[in-house]
């Protein structure tokens, strides 16, 4: 039988008929298997959800305990039978609790990797390659121009700028789940032990990371006591990118806008967003990592989901991999 018969895209998401479940569905469904806590992959309103404990915790933090009628956690590497298939979860190296989902059926295996990266990340477990027949890969940064530099070198850029402009606040835009904590953890690794100020929207997730053993050092809310603009001179403030455009950002003295994102690789993109200090830090694979992963896993087929599907499909053709763009909808290209 064709792989397609037991796992295929539908408008609600990737569906597995013999197990009667969806992976990362974008609409409410009866049974959802969820790779990680980013909002475009983990949505509220499903009847039952199977995910890693950390992903379930993160969903509860974001949507409240009642986000699904029924939840069940699954440890990495454990096989669980659902209908006629068995599934297992494996670290994806994307954010805390992120997993690839392996689906086994009649001696064949498809791995849906969700979002993943190969670079080291002090805030989550590293990606584990799982041998499989079909590998479903994301393609967020699947263009040869995306080659993420060493993350420590990027953090050094931030620290250099803080030393160079000690009278100004450095506002670092970073997505609230994963990127923010990674930026903070990398700053700590680099020996920065000052208090780091965070936007209110990040408090709960940072607390949660700390409770899971990720050391983020001293954090404080980036709130302002009246008339004390100078408080943030020389400080590092981390907030969601969306907050930087609004009034919130105006409380800081002559701020330098930094943004931690894989998109910052392209100068024009940084310029358009008014970013002064781009930090090329991504929780996705860059081009080289995508190719290395496909070569390492060496699947029979590569299925390509959200992102730059055209370039990766082309590369697969040139390198004799059967490739197929899945054209799943509902995943935001911009989200990290």
């Amino acid at each position: 039988m064709r792989f397609d018969d037991w796992l295929h895209p539908t408008p609600k998401g990737l569906y597995c008929p013999p197990g009667d479940f969806y992976i990362d569905p974008v609409k409410p469904v009866a049974r959802a298997l969820i790779t990680h806590g980013h909002a475009d992959h983990a949505r509220p309103g499903h009847t039952s959800v199977l995910a890693s404990q950390q992903t379930l915790d993160i969903m509860a933090l974001r949507y409240g305990e009642g986000h699904a009628e029924h939840t069940q956690d699954i440890a990495y590497g454990v096989q669980q039978t659902i209908g006629d298939v068995s599934v297992s979860f494996h670290p994806a190296g994307h954010v805390l609790g992120s997993a690839q989902i392996a689906v086994n059926y009649k001696g064949k295996r498809i791995v849906a990797s969700g979002d993943y990266k190969r670079a080291d990340d002090p805030t989550c477990l590293s990606f584990e390659p799982v041998p499989c027949d079909v590998f479903i890969t994301e393609a967020t940064f699947a263009l040869p121009v995306f080659r993420h530099p060493d993350d420590r070198q990027e953090i050094q850029k931030l620290l250099t700028s803080v030393a160079q402009f000690p009278e100004r606040a450095h506002l670092v835009g970073a997505y609230a789940l994963g990127k923010a904590q990674r930026v903070i953890a990398l700053l700590r690794e680099a020996g920065y032990d000052e208090t780091i100020f965070i936007h209110g929207a990040m408090q709960k997730l940072c607390d949660y990371y700390q409770s899971q053993g990720v050391d983020l050092g001293p954090l404080a809310p980036a709130t302002l006591e009246k008339g004390k603009k100078g408080n943030f001179a020389g400080a590092i403030v981390v907030g969601p990118p969306s907050a930087f455009a609004d009034k919130w950002a105006r409380r800081f003295p002559d701020p330098i806008a930094a943004f931690a994102s894989g998109w910052m690789q392209v100068r024009q993109r940084a310029k358009q967003r008014g970013v002064e200090l781009p930090l090329i830090l991504s929780d996705h694979c860059d081009w080289d990592e995508l190719l290395a992963t496909i070569r390492e896993i060496d699947p029979e087929e590569v299925w390509i989901t959200h992102g730059r599907e055209d370039a990766l499909t082309r590369w697969c053709e040139l390198n004799n991999y059967t490739a197929r763009p899945l054209s799943l909808v509902g995943y935001e290209e911009e989200a990290e």
């Binding site: 263009l143 040869p144 121009v145 995306f146 080659r147 530099p149 850029k157 160079q164 402009f165 330098i256 690789q265 392209v266 100068r267 024009q268 940084a270 310029k271 970013v275 002064e276 200090l277 781009p278 730059r308 055209d310 370039a311 082309r314 590369w315 040139l318």
Partner: protein, 545 residues
């Protein structure tokens, strides 16, 4: 090169002047000679290394990667140098030198390399660099480096390394060559002030601001002198005594380029120890010729006797900077003007004369002179009057464009000097030429497009622009080419138009009616093109903000 490329990366994204100054200063402080001096030369446009054409770079990258993947990448990034810098697949070879590439290596090697060997050389450099260095390198080699830093700003940063004023740097700048080691030593207090031993040196020119309506209410007409501004090329004619007592002479463009060799007729006339600021014109039988006649004498390395007879060059003097070894620039204009009149009168030539003062006691009288120059001293040459210069009687002659002492009041206010940014192929008869031009003016350190023009130029001018476009393309977007438009390199177009409105459709916020190319200003560096403020001042009053 690593530190330099990081500096460029930061400068490109730093909007604030003070931020840029800090970045430059820190770079100059932490980078050794001669690297920092070469970097200064690159930023100030004194070091041009155009040795790679876009086609060559395309060939290089396509020998390394699939053309389809390259096309997808280029399409996404939109800038050739940046695409290549990011996508360049390094050869994972252990014998590649890992050391940092230096600007000095690049400069020295390029001089000794033939055109045929250049691609291999560039390829080797790309292999030993990271993407940031590759970007800087490719921009350097294609001449498309734009970091939003004017030469003046870079010199200001340099001055701030010590307790110097930027004008002190301007003063000696033109006698110096990259990598400026003596200059750095002087600003850092470890060496003497570099002496300019040229007896006829260039003195940085003083420029005027366009006058605004409300300036008149704030200014007292009695404080100002007015003279006609002639429609030619602003020059500085400099003559001084060498140590052996001979008179050395030079003729400089306003940016300090010595153009004396093309004007032996004028140089002969400049037979006294003095430095004059004036307008280069062609006079035939005492009458000032239109600009396109003058153009016959421009952009030439040498000149024939026939040419000199047909188009006799002339200087109409505005100001006297030095006389008999005495620097007059700190003196008030009233004093300099008096001495200028005597100095010019003492010359045994008719090739150098003086721009007459306009008599007035009210601003209304100045306005009348601007309206009808023929009746106010310009006589038969009224057509060659571009406008009026208003100079404070007490103003010293200082380099740059200080606010307040000098104003210019153009006769036809509906024209601007803009910089060519993009060109597109025309239609029909013109489809083989780049004939649709998008031009911009300065806002802070950046050019913003203000309009498009399709006509106004002659067939010869069309060919000249087309050649410029083809030789200076830095990007292509379908039928459109982006051309080099830095502070130092680019083509200045004098654009005339019928009117101006506010527009939300344009980034600049203004839209021109019926813009046309009135003239090509090869003589003008892009940095001296008009600023957006001068355009905004021409908006109908209710449209101003």
């Amino acid at each position: 090169m690593r530190a330099f490329s990081h500096l460029l990366d930061r400068l490109i994204l730093t909007p604030q002047r003070n931020g840029k100054l800090r970045l430059l200063k820190d770079y100059f402080t932490t980078t050794p000679d001669p690297e920092r001096g070469l970097a200064l030369a690159v930023i100030t446009g004194q070091l041009n290394l155009p040795s790679a054409k876009p086609a060559m770079l395309r060939d290089l990258i396509q020998s390394r990667m699939d053309p389809v993947l390259f096309a997808l990448s280029y399409d996404y990034v939109g800038d050739l140098a940046e695409t290549i810098s990011l996508a360049w697949p390094e050869k994972a070879s252990p014998d590649l030198p890992n050391s940092d590439l230096h600007l000095s290596d690049i400069v020295e090697t390029l001089v000794k390399t033939s055109r045929r060997e250049t691609p291999a050389l560039v390829e080797a450099w790309l292999d030993r660099s990271d993407s940031s260095v590759r970007y800087a390198l490719l921009k350097l080699l294609t001449g498309g480096l734009r970091v939003g830093v004017s030469a003046r700003l870079a010199k200001t940063a340099l001055a701030q390394l010590g307790e110097h004023d930027v004008d002190e740097i301007e003063e000696i700048w033109h006698g110096l060559e990259p990598p400026y080691e003596t200059l750095f030593a002087w600003v850092e207090g470890t060496g003497p002030r570099p002496e300019n031993d040229n007896p006829a040196p260039f003195r940085p020119a003083m420029l005027a601001h366009p006058i605004q309506d409300d300036d008149f209410t704030k200014l007292d007409a009695g404080d100002f002198g007015a003279e006609f501004k002639w429609d030619g090329i602003r020059v500085q004619a400099s003559a001084g005594l060498a140590l052996d007592g001979t008179l050395k002479r030079a003729l400089y463009s306003r940016t300090g380029e010595d153009i004396a060799r093309a004007f032996p007729d004028l140089m002969e006339a400049l037979d006294a120890d003095m430095t004059i600021d004036g307008e280069l014109l062609v006079l035939i039988e005492g009458r000032v010729q239109p600009f396109n006649v003058l153009q016959q004498r421009l952009n030439r390395k040498t000149v024939s006797a026939k040419m000199m007879r047909a188009y006799p060059a002339h200087i109409r003097a505005y100001d006297l900077l030095v006389e008999k070894g005495t620097d007059l620039r700190a003196q008030p204009f009233s004093e300099r003007r008096k001495r200028l009149e005597q100095a010019v009168a003492s010359l045994a030539t008719s090739r150098i004369d003086i721009s007459p003062l306009v008599n007035f006691d009210t601003w209304d009288a100045v306005a009348a002179a601007r309206q009808t120059p023929a009746d106010h001293g310009a006589g038969v040459d009224a057509d060659a009057v571009e406008g009026l210069m208003l100079k404070r009687w007490d103003s010293a002659y200082v380099p740059g464009r200080p606010k307040g002492p000098w104003f210019k009041w153009k006769r036809d206010p509906l024209s601007v000097d803009a910089v060519l940014m993009y060109a597109q192929r025309g239609h029909g008869k013109r489809s083989s030429f780049y004939s649709d031009y998008t031009f911009g003016v300065w806002r802070d350190e950046e050019l913003v497009p203000v309009g498009k023009a399709y006509f106004g130029f002659t067939d010869d001018e069309l060919k000249e622009i087309d050649r410029f476009v083809r030789n200076n393309t830095i990007n292509r977007f379908g039928p459109v080419r982006e051309v080099t438009h830095s502070q130092e390199v680019g083509l200045v177009l004098e654009v005339a138009f019928e009117g101006l409105n506010r527009s939300t459709r344009h980034k600049s916020g203004v839209a021109m009616r019926f813009p046309r190319i009135a003239r090509l200003r090869w003589d003008k560096p892009p940095a001296e093109a008009d600023r957006l403020e001068s355009l905004e001042a021409l908006l109908p009053r209710e449209d101003r903000v």
